[in-house]
């Protein structure tokens, strides 16, 4: 058949470079951001900026350079984080950030791999991957931004939406309770579990930095305002007012009993570092036991042959 195509508009590197704002590089955090990627796509009042800067600060505090780190994201508002960071970043398919990151982390064990994704991505479509990676204790740092809804698609109910909360697909109230994420992460085997809100950036930075020093599967839930998707139908007001709500409702209780950390609508939110423990990660078990046995067997065979 004959194929008719439109004329290609070629990539203009010079024009793209010129378009990068002149002040890129002036802010101390700019070296962590890919040139030409700001302004970001997030709504006014969104908590993602706070979590992003907390991540950068956590990395800096841990003394990690961008060359030692990689970020893997799924799909959604939080999924877009990867595209802003000036390091090796992977924006994958919906829910699949963790298995993609598993491959990356196992293929390149010296890399600090962080999965930066939303509650819907990690716990609805990606829930199974999440619990299995925690069970295996893959060396991954999961940073879950929880805004209690599917924000990118316009505010639908998520597995974290509290009972009775309103969203565009639960206009008369949610008939399901939400997941208690820290309890779930702990039960699945995470070696580090914390929850903070974007009203607690100092504690969040500390937890991120602490988790980056752990070898194994860590989980941090960062509760973030979503005035557009979640705040509006639940009458939480603007982003600032939603922050005020989290300040008033939050109660710091490090080491809390995780049966008590379920989030209910208009009830207190327990935050803190809940779990900080250690156990061998996947690679330690795999290299130390499986590969070591294969090597020992191989040597035995060679000896046998020589004899």
């Amino acid at each position: 058949m004959k194929v008719k195509l439109r004329e290609i508009v070629p990539f203009d590197k010079e024009a793209e470079e010129k378009a990068i704002q002149k002040d890129h590089g002036l802010h101390p955090d700019d070296k962590y951001l890919k040139p030409g990627r700001i302004p970001h796509i997030w709504c006014p009042g969104c908590g993602l900026g706070v979590v992003l800067t907390s991540f950068i600060e956590g990395m800096r505090r841990k003394g990690l350079s961008v060359d030692q780190c990689a970020v893997v994201s799924g799909i959604g508002c939080t999924g877009r984080v990867a595209g802003y960071l000036d390091m090796d970043t992977y924006h994958t398919t919906h829910g699949r950030a963790i298995p993609f990151a598993t491959g990356l982390a196992l293929a390149k064990p010296d890399l600090h791999v962080t999965v930066f994704s939303g509650d819907g991505d990690l716990f609805a479509i990606g829930g199974n991957h999440m619990i299995h990676a925690a069970r295996r204790n893959v060396n991954l740092k999961v940073l879950c931004v929880n805004n209690f809804n599917f924000g990118m698609t316009g505010g639908q109910v998520a597995p974290t939406t509290p009972l009775e909360a309103r969203t565009s697909t639960t206009p008369l109230g949610n008939a399901e309770p939400g997941f208690n994420l820290p309890y779930l992460a702990h039960a699945a085997g995470a070696i580090y579990v914390a929850r903070w809100t974007t009203f607690h950036p100092r504690q969040l930075v500390h937890s991120i930095s602490e988790s980056l020093g752990k070898k194994g599967f860590t989980f941090i839930e960062a509760i973030a305002p979503c005035p557009t998707g979640y705040g509006r139908p639940n009458k939480l007001g603007s982003g600032l007012e939603e922050m005020r709500y989290y300040r008033e409702m939050s109660q710091i209780r490090n080491g809390a009993d995780l049966r008590d950390t379920e989030i209910r609508l208009r009830e207190k939110i327990i935050v803190g570092t809940f779990i900080n423990t250690d156990r061998p990660d996947f690679m330690e078990n795999y290299m130390g036991k499986v590969v070591a046995r294969a090597r020992a067997k191989g040597k035995g065979k060679e000896k046998g042959k020589a004899a």
Binding site: A82, H91, T92, T93, G103, L104, L106, A107, N128, Y286
Partner: protein, 382 residues
Amino acid sequence: MADKDVLTGEHFIHGDAACAEGGIASGCRFFAGYPITPATEVAERMARRLPQVGGVYIQMEDEIASMAAILGASWGGVKSMTSTSGPGFSLMMENIGLGMMTETPCVVVNIQRGGPSTGLPTLVGQADVMQARWGSHGDYGCIALAPASPQECFDFTVDAFNLSEIYRQPVFVLGDEVVGHMTEKVIIPPREELRIVERGKPQAKKEDYLPFDFKGPMPAQMAVAGQGYHVHVTGLTHDERGYPVITDAVQERNIRHIVDKIRKNADKIIRVESVFLDDAEVVVVAYGCTSRVARQAVEDLRSRGVKAGLLRLITIWPFPSNMIRQLAKQVKAFIVPEINYGQVAYEVERTAQGNAEVVLMALMGGSIHRPDEIEESVLEYF
């Protein structure tokens, strides 16, 4: 350790094991999979063999995760593969699309069984041909190789890895239950006789490097994690920097590239075997286990003086359209035996453009054709 990666010598192994050995000989050091009949033996072989060569074997929670993990490993700079059968292949489609869009080299072995759905778990099928070509949403180019023996399971897996590195995309080894479970002699050549395409490193400075090249017929040199290039890899439509750009103009560049790198290089990728084609009046077009039966039929017919030929597809995708188009002017008919209700037969009919008759000999799965059935179909034209 290194001497264990290429098991030079003669082996008596099944096709599944030969696929695993082909992978390891190609430098595959990461395998993520999920048990599924009749491909489980590929994973079992990998679970035993990869630790011997310092590679990573991981059994994931499902095929979605397996496919995602091998993409991640590939970006970690390690050659990677998975294996599955129909139901798992369906689950992999999502991340196969991600692999196509992000131009990620890796190999997917599909040992086909009867479908759809759970179908015939333990019995043969060849009905994933079109799924391999079109299974993930959107447009992309496809390379699929169809081995007809355990030896070819080894050889074609090596070839699949090479093609995946050259064209930077997932490449399929489209086997079938008969070939996967067939045990035959497999000769693994000495390491120096194997042609292995190694992944290079970009030479450009970070500020000059572009991770994607949509201009030419070939992809850009891949920069994997930790090389300092800070590549952003996304399943979104992206420009040459890897940045997401949601416009029709960038979509044109991005998608035409991932289709054209296969389409425009098709002559270099297509592999066929021609048996008695020069003066053939009726040509059997077959692939995988079916091509073994077809060969028997064509040889029998020739010994009786019947001018039959065999066009054996080694690559089903890209499809050898030009060759069929030419042959169509010379032959009376194409006979297409396949274990599905018409997949390659439609391609043959399309490319024959009415110049020759096309006969589909369809089996729904669970058994293979008999040579005498094929001979009968050919003889109807003499």
